[in-house]
């Protein structure tokens, strides 16, 4: 089961991984005293999936983010930008028509959502042990079920 108590210092410190973490922090930041995606380790989920799909691509994504960061604040790396400035980079990337850039942006968003809202942060695939993520209770998701006799509730 992913270590939910891990500090950012325990995370991957490749430049590309740090840039991806910064992007995820902008996508799903902490607020209202609730943890953000990085706080539950979702950046590791994103980086692990990218490493699985295309080894070496983590660093290429980092370079892409840095290239667009320079348009927002000349001379700054992506990790040095404020959350709003990182949002400007995400906006610029989202406007690109090229399939490859579109896929990078989609991956950052989709995998962040998976890290935050799926069972990933609380599930051990090897044992089947599940500690439901806090997000489930917040959004009213009942979790895995054998069935719902009350399927007409509220009708």
């Amino acid at each position: 089961m992913p270590d939910q108590d891990a500090t950012p210092a325990d995370h991957d410190d490749r430049p590309g991984a740090l840039a991806i973490r910064a992007a995820i922090e902008a996508i799903a930041p902490p607020f209202d005293e609730r943890p953000g995606a990085v706080d539950v380790g979702a950046d590791r989920h994103v980086v692990d999936l990218i490493d699985l799909a295309v080894p070496g691509f983590v660093d290429m994504i980092g370079m892409l983010l840095d290239a667009y960061a320079a348009d927002v604040r000349p001379g700054a790396a992506f990790v040095e930008l404020s959350l709003d400035e990182r949002g400007a980079v995400l906006r610029a990337l989202s406007r690109e028509e090229g399939q490859d850039v579109r896929d990078v942006v989609d991956a950052l968003f989709v995998f962040t959502m998976g890290g935050l809202y799926s069972e990933w942060s609380g599930y051990d695939r090897s044992t089947g042990g599940l500690d439901p993520p806090a997000t489930w209770a917040r959004i009213g998701f009942r979790g895995p079920s054998d069935g719902h006799p009350d399927y007409r509730e509220g009708i």
């Binding site: 962040t112 009213g140 998701f141 509730e153």
Partner: protein, 536 residues
């Protein structure tokens, strides 16, 4: 199996239908499947990342060893492609919605009539079985109220020519009789337990044998029936890499001889010969295999006329509980022949978060230019996360378009990408026509009207790059070998003994309805034709 009479490539939605139909007549069938063979009780965990994770979920498009990378497709204009490897194919994941096609979609490209399909619809519907749901979950009743608010009448018919809303005809067993607090195990509980996990593979009722698993995916229906004949062997983890053929220079320039495949676990390469080969790997892998095999394609039609229904989402947020995680994921639909279809879509939190935040063009804080939704496109930050908090009060509708079958939309080979273990990888090119995009906008607006009619406080349009869950017509049948890959029998114009047995044989997108039933009916018909032409 030594000396099969027929080899079926792909054990997804269509291949098992052909296999079962032939095996039941004494034909020896070898069915190859690229992915693994799961046991629903042991392997379906009901969890979104474990089952549906695009890159490493059990139902991904990839090898059974999840530490290995998924298999690759290059995409140009196509959004996320949801295709599952494994026995059962994407029917392991699908909603099991099983409408018949819109009769109006049978146009000049079709070499058969709607009436030709009716006996095969009846055959498949009786086999699975398919029936109209006899009740609605909360989310679907809400959708129905919105449909009626905009003037749609209720219909129970399978023959649709005008706009209506309908309780769905699903390949899901009738709703089980359940009482609160009861342990939901078979045989005390028999039928659908309304668990909401259709998309993660259906393991319910707990303890039920495959013939009583509620969602009638092919791995719990046609596949076990085929194997039970004693005439069908299924080989999982077997990725077909070449169709073997001889040049004969007759009316058909080639004659099929067999199939070569690669064991995805060991890497061993094997071959088998047979008089008949049935392509049922889906609309992406079948043209890829044809092209990688060097089969003749003198008119450059293989892989063309790809349709996908150009899917999108529109979501309503309500001031009441909706419970999108309860019930069959889809129990009600609205039909608009000439435009396409909409349906209520239940799903878990990851899919919902993706639909709301991770979407396509545009951003939540941009003007909507007078459109009937409040927000569209991508969202991030605290505002987006607060919208996801409203999951339990949300209702999402799928927009499913009657997209035109144009030759520019096609599957070819990605010459600029590295080949994988199975040869040059496919490139999926999608070019929706202007008419397709107009229909998509019309359906999205109608979805917003339905949601408002149901009482939605806010409406969001995802505006995705077209989602590919229905992938059709790239190996289409037709009247003209210059515009189609196979003839009215489903036999390839250019290759004797090679048939197409899944949704890739559909001449178009059948008007927008979910294609599985029509693909399976066509596969059953093709099996009849195979037997009469080549194996009787």
């Amino acid at each position: 199996m030594d000396a099969p009479d027929a080899i079926v490539i792909g054990a997804g939605g269509g291949g098992p239908v052909v296999a079962q139909e032939l095996a039941a007549r004494g034909v020896k069938v070898l069915m190859l499947e690229a992915g693994p063979w799961f046991d629903p009780d042991r392997d379906y965990t009901r969890l979104e990342d474990d089952m549906n994770g695009i890159l490493d979920g059990k139902l991904r498009w990839g090898p059974s060893d999840r530490t290995q990378a998924p298999w690759t497709r290059r995409r140009d204009g196509a959004g996320l492609i949801l295709q599952c490897a494994g026995v059962g194919g994407t029917t392991q994941h699908f909603n099991a919605i099983m409408p018949r096609m819109y009769p109006s979609a049978v146009d000049g490209d079709w070499p058969i009539t709607y009436d030709d399909l009716i006996p095969y619809y009846e055959r498949v519907e009786a086999f699975l079985p398919v029936q109209m749901v006899d009740d609605l979950a909360t989310k679907d009743a809400l959708f129905a109220s919105g449909c009626e608010a905009i003037g749609l009448r209720r219909s129970e018919s399978t023959y649709v020519t005008d706009p209506v809303w309908r309780p769905c005809h699903n390949a899901i067993l009738p709703i089980a009789k359940m009482t609160p607090g009861q342990e939901l195990r078979w045989p005390e509980v028999d039928g659908c337990t309304m668990c909401g996990h259709c998309l993660q593979g259906c393991p319910n009722p707990v303890g039920a044998p495959v013939e009583r698993k509620a969602k009638r995916a092919t791995n719990v229906s046609y596949v076990p029936a085929a194997v039970a004949t004693g005439n069908c062997e299924v080989v999982p983890n077997a990725y077909a890499t070449a169709i073997l053929f001889d040049d004969v220079g007759d009316a058909r320039p080639a004659r099929v001889r067999g199939v070569r495949w690669r064991d995805t676990a060991s890497g061993e390469v094997r071959e088998a010969e047979a008089r008949v080969v049935v392509l049922a790997g889906g609309s992406i892998e079948s043209p890829r295999l044809w092209l990688n095999s060097g089969l003749p394609d003198p008119h450059n039609v293989v892989g063309r006329h790809l349709t996908s229904h150009c899917q999108d989402f529109v979501t309503g947020l309500f001031d009441r509980e909706v419970h999108p995680d309860v019930g069959q994921v889809t129990m009600a639909r609205a039909d608009f022949p000439g435009q396409g279809t909409l349906w209520s879509q239940g799903f878990g939190p990851t899919y919902f978060a993706t639909v709301i935040m991770a979407g396509g063009r545009g951003f939540w804080d941009e003007p909507t230019d007078g459109e009937p939704w409040d927000f569209a496109g991508r969202w991030w930050g605290p505002e987006g996360l607060r919208k996801i908090d409203e999951y339990h009060r949300s209702l999402s509708l799928v927009v499913c378009v009657d997209d035109e079958a144009v030759p520019e939309s096609r599957v070819t080979l990605a010459d600029d990408w590295a080949a994988d273990d199975h040869g040059p990888v496919p490139k999926v090119i999608y070019r929706p026509s202007a008419a397709t995009l107009e229909r998509r906008t019309w359906l999205a607006r109608t979805a917003a009207r339905i949601l408002r009619g149901a009482g939605a406080r806010e409406v969001h349009r995802s505006n995705l790059q077209p989602l590919f869950t229905h992938i059709m017509s790239s190996m289409r049948m037709g009247n003209d070998p210059a515009a189609s890959v196979c003839d009215a029998d489903g036999q390839a114009w250019q290759v004797e003994g090679l048939f197409v047995g899944d949704s890739s044989a559909l001449p178009n997108g059948i008007g927008g309805p979910n294609p599985t039933l029509t693909a399976q009916a066509l596969a059953a018909r093709t099996a009849d034709r195979i037997f009469e032409l080549a194996l009787a």
